[in-house]
Structures are given as structure tokens and as C-alpha cells.
Symmetry: C2
Subunit: 657 residues, 2 copies
């Protein structure tokens, strides 16, 4: 334990100011190592390596290596249909868990399906259709064991808002329905292509910060829009911005119906209480899972009993019995609205993919198994393509239902099959029961579901840790609230990308000093024990050197040199003779960056200062070599570490005074 | 010299395969240092520091510190009007040099001015006006001593092509002229604002690679368009793409005029030869400088003499004598074409700014003085605003004329004043002389000027050094040639930005090994002497960790761990116990990145592997601290260097087996 206690002693930063010998005096003689180039590769080989890193970082065919043909075929089958992976080990005890969890999520999926379809301005029955076919497809193709598939609030909202801008769902219901199925088809096509082409990283550009803001904004808009149902208003804006929604609420005050309001708010309180209990105690998940169906049944019963007395409570009305009708004939591949359908498809596709993949990964990491992002994308994509041909609209893995699924003990995707079976029974036999279901209860269910999307704690954490992330979050929140859903999202993505570019455009540059007695060089401003090395200025650049920052870096580095010269002159220290550029964190360089290095060397030479590079990384070294810059640096221009550069150059100075 | 020869011996990479003792056996006991946080600062202070780094990297007010009020006023005057800096030291010998160079560039500026105005579809006289007022303004405000100001080919081409898309210069010449002045005004306003708001880094996004391709594409298009003049075609497309221009040339074959063709190609050969001689021998710069004016005079004389016999050679015709008429009444601030004017202004503004600033910097670095980019932008901007009110169109520092200016020995901006005076004399007295100047000679002058923009050697260097830069170059070349000038440019900027994002999205991850006998850890794949440390896997991430790469990094890092586990198992080596993440090159982290670190630690813990961070940089350390991630890492989770981490953890293992 000797060394360990020594370590603890040393944990305190040295804050003493006693005279410590300057680094060059105390440094042991250092062996100098050559900076190697990476192993030589042909352009084709490099391209192949780079492409495989870009598209196959997870090496998905890893298991296929050194296998026989039959085994490869079987592995391929498992690869495309994960059901073959776990299917053979399936047993009665797993089935029991899956049946329980499947029935639990069905009780949630039925009222949510009806509600979310209304959110997308679609007939309620489409929401049930969408809870039947997609879960079946997913259970064959999906690799997550806990994802509960069906319509979700965000995608429903976005589809409703984008399609309503082009076509009115009340005036042209058939065209609207066609556009919804077409958008679903394109969403699926887009999702499946992202997966097939392994371009899944596109969804990574929706950063968590952006999503927190976006979802909160969407939740506020959706909740406000539900005031239509909660207050019993008949004439309401179809727009999705804050201002028209609020003005609709207050301009139609004569339409408010007190019966609806009483019923709506009572059930809203009930649902929110149930949700609150389950959030506090995850073991009581079944309370919030059962609450929506209970509310639907109770409210339907109340309306049925009061029917003659309160005609002012609006009800769902007649729902057709029977299975999903085929809808491939309703897809719409030409005409003036095609662009709207494609755009809606892509935006809802991205959003639902983001939700589905994130939910899948969350539960996979809880149970310590891997979800392959690209395969998930293909599964979700094919599920939506199939959905668009069977009267379903965009579906994905829902966070709230998956959480219930997980808590209810789901073990495999069979829980999705059980849920689909329950929906099937509903579709075939129970539809008349929903005749008297009041619309107000759907509004209450939607509000309860979306209120959980407002994650103010996450927003606070963003503020605490990263102000620019918080800005991206705010931008998407207000963009969605006051401009429009797709534009708000686009602006937020723009802010996130701008943040990356800003970091590249204005990288940090630091002056390093030696920590006495070691070969460690560190930031002077951060480590008080670090000391300047006389006659040297050691600068570190903390970013790739690109066209976007090369002129900035030139100005900034020259300013460091100028300031150092002034400082040494003012303090009567030994004059500056050598600038060491620590390139450890310069992870890439382009032709402008190489020009900067040349230019800098020349400019410093004119001031009789030597420029030395320390530790260029592999790709940078390669480019310096290819552009023949290194030749101008000569033998004493390139070192493996700052320490070796200091030691060697100072010994040279001693040898040739 | 002992150490030096030792160094040379060590330059060869060790390629021997003898058994070298494993690092832990040979390593000296290492003192452990604490990783410090950067000094604590308030959010406001950090914001201030960050903003000053973004907007004032060159610390422009550096000279104003600790000065008296009067001195500050005088420095301010010098700051805004650099003429006060050098004006007091001006003497006769400087004046002599400036007069010679001023007259030389005037001889170039007059024919080029007329030609470039025609390139922009403007009356030739506007080109001369633009060579009079702007140089005067620049000589007051500009900080470059060698910039020769006037119309340039690229900006003329872009203005001509963008405005012609909206308005025909032959059918509505007055409206076209108004739009040109308005675009010039907005170009100037945009340039001056970039300078004032210190947003000059925006022009950095036009990377050199993009510009090489763009200029070559523009040169090809411009040269092809000059076939109109060279072949004597009357009816010609106003479009700027490759296909319509070529089809115009061959569809109007009956308009080809052999007299024009003979004259045009003779003078083209003469001009190109003169240019070739001057390129080979910079001392003979005056040959290419005098050639255009000589050609104009000769060809005018020929046409004048042959006038009665060859009416088919088209001539410039009548040019109004007199000074620039005021044109502020022609600015156009409302109406349907305002958007076109603003767009044209911004695009030509950016392009001319890029050229002007780059030219200024080039010659400043040759003579070892500094040009302040933001001040240059303001100078060029104010010059264009003033120009737009005095019948001038967009002007900037021209590369070809500035090179002649430099070679002719220009010392200060007075050479611009001399040039303006020569243009003044021309405007007042010599205009009738241009009556018989044939248009074909202007075409030859333009071709000679733009042919130098095709820098195939630079393109080849791009290919050799950086394939993605070459791709950006090709994109902008073909974009300009086949799509359109602004769109081609936009696509090329997109490619450049995509390149930055790609590097961030798919960063390099490397396995490090110890170089025996040292504390240096380096890439195994690059340094053959580097050895794996048993039971450790040392990974380096070469990029900031952002939302855009956090899921990639998670997959990739876990794959490294998996592969290492398989490798150790296959080779019967000691099992993996600890993963060290070298964060030296992780120059920034955001909330998604922090989540990745947490997630990774948890996932590795489930596999009984310890995760340790080495050397996080200041800003990363701060965020790790703020997000309370460090607490979960405990005492043995954070080290200053990889070497200290390896030493300390292995000694802990020895102490607690």
C-alpha cells in the first residue's frame, strides 16, 4: 500500500511558491524517438478502411467469419429475423410473462391508439389498426425484447400538423387519409433505407438537447390543443402554433360546455394521479397502465347513462368492426400533394426512428443486451411500409408503453404478438362498445401521456453543464411553440451543428509548461506547479486544423508569440528562441492547415524563431509527409513528445552556443 | 554533440522482434499527479472570455492600453485611417516608386475595367468609373500597401449571371443598371457589417479547395462565353451554364465572322505569349502589364483604318466623357427585384471579399507586415457603398493587378491614387479614342485574365494530400459549370462543412501501447516498438465527444473491448481488467458525451472491467465535474497521464491480489 498512500499525498495541487529548479536543469537526459508514419497503405485500402469505419463501426458480420455455408445461412436468417435467435429457447415460463405484459400494454394501447389517431386528425379506428399489424411485423424483425410498438404522440402530432397545412381533414377526409398512408409509406421507406445504407448516424444529429426542447414544446402545443376536447369547443383552429391555439380557446368561449369540462377535468385528475403514483413507485406500474382503459370504460358508461340528458358531450360514434382493410390502393405517387407527403414522411420518419431506437437502446442497456441501430431502423421501416398497405399510419416503439411492458415483465417480442391479438379481438367484436366514449376522455389521455415529455430536470442539467446545449434546447422549444414543428426542429439542428462548427472555427490554444521533475507538459493556466521553460514557448492547439480555422489560428498563435516576447522583455527573462507546437490534439489537418504550418514557420523564421512540431497524430503526419512540408522543417523540426523536443533542442543550444 | 548523434541513431524505428521486458516490469516508480480543474470563473466571465476569443482573437485594441487620451485619439485615427500611419513618413523616393507602379496598373486597369464591365453585362464606361472612385476610398481606409483596387473578373461574372437571370440587360438596361448599383450597395453593406461585427470568419468557410474548383469552373464558363466576342456572334445566350453556352456557339454558326476570328485569335496569342513570358520571368512583369493596352491601341487603329472595308467587326462605339455621375438616386430599396439585388450583393460581396482579403494577406506576408482582416473588410465595404453612389459596381483587390503593382515596386496605397488620376484623365479627355475599339479585343483580354484562374497544379496537390478536399474542389468546379454559380458555390461549401462533420461523426479511435523504458504511450498500429500492457486496454479517442458521435463511439469502444477480450483469450494472455481512456485529444464534450462516459462505465462494470480516464483537458474536466460524473469514478478513476494510471493501478493490484 506504500505507493497508494504516496499517491494520496500527492493529490493536493502544489500551491507552494518556493523556487523549484527550472525544468532543463533537473531533467534526466532523454532518449529521442522518431515520429513514425502510419504503415503505408494504398489509396484504395485506406478508402476501404475509412468506409468500413463509417458504415460498419460495429462490424455486424463479425460472427460470419470462418463459418461453413449452412451455418452462415442459418446465421443470416437469425441476422435478418431475430425471432430465430430466441425462438428456439422459448418456453412456457417466458410465455406466461409475455402474456401478462402483452395484455397490460394492450389495455394501454387501445385507448392511446384511438387518442393518438385523433391527434393526427385521423379516424380513431386507424389508431387501432396501427396497433395490430405493425407489432406483428416488429416481433419478427425487431431486435429489442421490450419495445412496445404502436402509434406515438410526437409522430402523430407532427403528421397531423404537417398534413393539415396542405389539406383539411374535415373537408377532404379521403385525400387526407391517402396522404397519411402515403406519408407513412415514405417514412417507412426512408427508415428502411437509412438502415440498409447504414446511414443511421443521421438521426444522431438530433441531439438530446434538441430533443428535450422539441418534446417539451410539442407537449405544450398538444396539451393546449386538447383544450378543444376538454372544454368541448366545436370550432377550433387546425394550426399548431401557440398563438392561434390560445386565441381559438378564448375566442370560442360561448362553445365551452360545463358538462364536458367537469367530466374532462375529473378524469384528467384521476389519470394524472395514477401516473404520479406509478412514477413514484415503479412496482405500481399497473395503476397508470390500467387507468386509461378504466377511464374510457367509466366515462363511456356515464355518457351512456346520461345520454338523453346531456347531448352536449361529444362522443366518438360509430366505429367499423373488422380487420385492417388493405390500403395499398390509397397510396398516392403522383400529383400536387406528393411533395407534402414525402416531406411529412421524412420528418415523421426521423422523429419516430429517433424515439424507437432510443427506447430500444434504453431498455437493452438496462437488461445488458445489444440493440443493433441499423437493424432496428430496417425493422421499423419495414413495419411502416407494411403498415401503409394495411390502413396503418406511422408507428414506432413508444416510450411510455415500453416502460409498462418492461415493468410488467415482458421477456421477448411475444408480448407484442399478445397485444396485437388483444387488439384483434377488440377490432372484431368490441367496437360497438366505444360508441358512447366521449372525446373529452381522449383529450385527457393525450394530456396525461404528453405531460411526461416535459423534462424540466433535463433542461436544468443542460443549463448547468453546457450553456450552448441549453441554447439548442431553448431554440427548439420556442421554435416548435411559435414557428412550426418542422421549422423549429430544423433551427434546433442548425444550432447543434453551429455549435460543432464554432468549436472548430475558434479552437482553444494553450500555453504549456513543464511539471518539475517529470516529462509532463501541461496548461500553465490550469496547473500551478507547471513552469514555463526558458527560451521556449510551448503552444497546444486543441482542434483539427481546417480551412475554417486556419486564419484564426495564424492570428492567435502569432499573438501568443508576440505576448510572450513582450513578457520576457518586460521581465528580463532569456529571449524567446523556439516555439514548440504540441499537435497531440490536432486530430486532422487539411490543405489549408498545412499551408498555415508552412506560413507560420516562414513568419517565425523571419523573426529568428524556430518552429518545432511535437507529436503529430498518424493522419496529420501522413499529410505533412505527402505535402513535403516536413522537408522544410529539417532534422530538428519534429519530435515525438514535447519533452524530447525541449531536451534535444536545449542540448543542441548548449553544444553550439 | 553526444546527445545529438544518439538521437540520430534512434531515428530508425525498431524493427527487431527480440523479447523486450513488458512495460510494467521495467517501469520506474511513478509519482502520481492530481488532475486539476481550470481556475474557477463565473459564467459571465467565461462568456466574456469566450466572446473575446471568438470576436477579437487578434486583440485589436492591444496598442490602446495604458495610453493618454490624446494619444488614444491619434491611435484611433490611425486605426480607422491607416493613411495616417504611413502618411507622415512619406517621401519623394516612395512617391517615385508609387507613380511608376500606379501608371503601370492604370495601363492594365483601363482595358480590364472596360472588359469586366462587359462581363457583368454593364456599359463599358461603368468599368472605368469603378476604377476611379473605389481606389481613392481604399487608399484612405485600406491597410494593404500593394492591393490594386478595381473591378475583378469573378465578381463581374457572378453579378452578370445572377442579375441576368432576373432582368435582361438589353431589354431593360436602366432597371439592370439600377439593380447592379443596388447589389453593389448591399455587397458593401454586407462586407462592412462583417468587418464591424467581426464576423470575418464567415469567409473562412470558402476553403481554398472550394475556391480552386470554383475559380477554374468560372474561368471555363467565362472563356467559353467570350467565344461570342471572339467569333463575332450576335445572338448569344445570356445563361451561364456549360450546355447553353456551347449550344449557342454551334447553333449560331452562320453568324461567325472570319475577320473577327482572325483578329481575335491573333491578339489572344499575343496576350497569352506576353502573359507566359511574365509568368516565367517575374522581372519582365511589364510585358504582360503593357500588353492589354497595346492590344487595345493596335486593334483600335486597325479597325479605324479598315473601317470602311470590314463593317462586320463589332466595336464599342460612343462612350460618354466626364466624371462618375452620382447614382444614389438609382438605388432600389423596394419592389419585386429587391430580393435578387440583395442576394446578388451578398454572393458577390463574399466572393470579392475573399479575393481582396486573400490578395492583401499574400502580399503582406511577402513583405512581412500584417493586414487586419476585419479592417480590410470594412475598407472594402465602405469603398463599395461609396462606389454604389457614384456609378461604380462591385470592386475589390484584384490578384493580377496587385501582382503587377507589387512587381512594379509599389510602396504604399498612393499607387492607387496615381492609378485613379490616370483613369480620371482618361475619363475626361480620352474617351473618344475608344470609339473604334473592337469588342473582340475585350474578349481576348478577359480570356487572358481568367485563364490564370485555372490552377490545375493546386488541384493536383489537393488530390495528393487530401482526397476529400479534392472532392470539394471537383464539386464546386462541376457545380459552377453545369448547375449555376451560386448553387455550385453553395454545394461546395456544403461539401466542406460535411467534411468537418464527418470527421466529428466518425472519429478515430486507437489502441495505445507503451514504448519500453519510457512513459510514452503511442498507437500500436503506428509504432512497432510500442507494446501492449498486460491486463490493460488503452484507448484514445481523437475528437470531441458530441451528440453527433456518442452512439458511434459507444459501439466502437465496446467493439475494441470485445476484440481485445477475444484476442487475450485466443493467445492465453492475462485477462483484461482495466480500460484506460486517453482523453488528451477529446477537446470538448457535451451532455451526450458525458452520458456516453457514464453509460460506458456502467456497461464495463457489468463485465467486471474498470474504466479509467486519463488527462481530460480543462473544459472537459469542468463539465465532468459539473455533471457529477467524476464521483462515480472514485479515487482511482482519473489520472493525469496514461503512464501514471498504469503504474498506480498495477501497484494497487499487486497490493490487493
Amino acid at each position: 500500500m506504500g505507493l497508494n498512500s504516496n499517491r494520496v499525498e500527492n493529490l493536493a495541487c502544489h500551491e507552494t511558491t518556493i523556487r523549484i529548479p527550472t525544468p532543463t536543469e533537473t531533467m534526466p537526459p532523454v532518449e529521442i524517438h522518431k515520429v513514425c508514419l502510419p504503415p503505408k497503405q494504398t489509396t484504395l485500402h485506406k478508402l476501404k478502411h475509412r468506409l468500413s469505419e463509417i458504415f460498419f463501426p460495429d462490424d455486424p458480420l463479425h460472427g460470419f467469419k470462418n463459418q461453413t455455408g449452412l451455418r452462415k445461412f442459418f446465421l443470416g436468417l437469425q441476422f435478418f429475423f431475430p425471432i430465430f435467435q430466441w425462438g428456439s429457447d422459448y418456453n412456457v415460463s417466458l410465455l406466461k410473462s409475455d402474456v401478462i405484459s402483452g395484455l397490460t400494454i394492450a389495455s394501454l394501447a387501445i385507448p392511446q391508439g384511438i387518442s393518438y389517431a385523433k391527434l393526427a386528425n385521423l379516424p380513431p379506428i386507424v389508431g387501432l389498426y396501427s396497433s395490430f399489424v405493425p407489432p406483428l411485423i416488429y416481433s419478427l424483425l425487431g431486435s429489442s425484447r421490450h419495445l412496445a410498438v404502436g402509434p406515438v404522440s410526437i409522430a402523430s402530432l407532427v403528421m397531423g400538423s404537417m398534413l393539415s397545412e396542405a389539406v383539411s381533414s374535415t373537408e377532404e377526409p379521403i385525400l387526407y387519409l391517402k396522404l397519411a398512408f402515403t406519408a407513412t409509406f415514405f417514412a417507412g421507406l426512408f427508415q428502411a433505407s437509412l438502415g440498409l445504407l447504414r446511414l443511421g448516424f443521421i438521426i444522431d444529429f438530433l441531439s438530446k438537447a434538441t430533443l428535450v426542447g422539441f418534446m417539451a414544446g410539442a407537449a405544450v402545443i398538444v396539451s393546449l390543443q386538447q383544450l378543444k376536447g376538454l372544454l368541448g369547443i366545436v370550432h377550433f383552429t387546425t394550426k399548431m402554433q401557440f398563438v392561434p391555439v390560445i386565441s381559438s380557446v378564448f375566442h370560442q368561449r360561448e362553445e365551452w360546455s360545463w358538462q364536458t369540462i367537469i367530466m374532462g377535468f375529473s378524469f384528467l385528475v384521476f389519470l394524472l394521479t395514477a401516473r404520479h403514483i406509478s412514477t413514484r413507485r415503479p412496482k405500481l406500474f399497473w395503476i397508470s397502465a390500467a387507468a386509461p382503459l378504466t377511464s374510457v370504460m367509466l366515462s363511456t358508461l356515464i355518457v351512456f347513462l346520461l345520454n338523453s340528458k346531456s347531448p352536449r358531450i361529444s362522443i366518438i360514434g360509430n366505429l367499423p368492426e373488422g380487420l385492417n382493410p388493405p390500403s395499398s390502393n390509397m397510396l398516392y405517387f403522383s400529383g400536387s400533394y406528393l411533395a407534402v407527403a414525402i416531406k411529412t414522411g421524412i420528418v415523421t420518419g426521423i422523429l419516430s426512428l429517433t424515439e424507437g431506437v432510443a427506447v430500444g437502446r434504453t431498455f437493452a442497456s438496462l437488461k445488458n443486451y445489444q440493440v443493433d441501430g441499423n437493424k432496428e431502423m430496417m425493422a421499423i421501416g419495414f413495419m411502416n411500409i407494411a403498415g401503409s398497405c394495411s390502413s396503418c399510419y406511422v408507428t414506432t416503439g413508444s416510450f411510455s408503453r415500453s416502460a409498462v411492458n418492461y415493468n410488467a415483465g415482458a421477456q421477448t417480442a411475444v408480448s407484442n404478438i399478445v397485444m396485437a391479438a388483444a387488439v384483434l379481438v377488440t377490432l372484431l367484436f368490441l367496437m360497438p362498445l366505444f360508441y358512447f366514449t366521449p372525446n373529452v376522455i381522449l383529450a385527457a389521455i393525450i394530456i396525461t401521456a404528453v405531460i411526461g415529455l416535459i423534462d424540466y430536470q433535463a433542461a436544468f442539467r443542460l443549463w448547468k453543464v453546457d450553456k450552448l446545449d441549453f441554447l439548442a434546447c431553448l431554440t427548439s422549444f420556442f421554435g416548435v411553440l411559435f414557428i412550426s414543428v418542422p421549422l423549429g426542429l430544423a433551427i434546433a439542428v442548425g444550432v447543434s451543428v453551429f455549435k460543432i462548427l464554432l468549436h472548430v472555427t475558434r479552437p482553444n490554444t494553450m500555453v504549456l509548461g513543464n511539471i518539475p521533475g517529470t516529462q509532463i507538459y501541461h496548461h500553465l493556466s490550469r496547473y500551478r506547479e507547471a513552469l514555463r521553460v526558458p527560451s521556449f514557448l510551448i503552444l497546444a492547439v486543441e482542434s483539427p486544423i481546417y480551412f475554417a480555422n486556419s486564419s484564426y489560428l495564424q492570428e492567435r498563435l502569432l499573438r501568443w508569440v508576440m505576448e510572450e516576447e513582450e513578457r520576457t522583455k518586460a521581465n528580463n527573462e532569456s529571449t524567446l528562441k523556439c516555439i514548440i507546437l504540441d499537435m497531440t490534439a490536432v486530430t486532422a489537418i487539411d490543405t489549408s492547415g498545412i499551408e498555415l504550418i508552412c506560413e507560420l514557420r516562414k513568419m517565425l523564421e523571419k523573426r529568428s524563431l524556430q518552429l518545432v512540431l511535437a507529436n503529430p497524430v498518424g493522419s496529420v503526419m501522413e499529410k505533412l509527409q505527402q505535402s513535403q512540408v516536413l522537408e522544410s522543417f529539417g532534422l530538428n523540426g519534429l519530435y515525438l513528445t514535447v519533452g524530447e523536443a525541449v531536451a534535444d533542442i536545449s542540448s543542441l543550444w548548449k553544444a553550439q552556443p
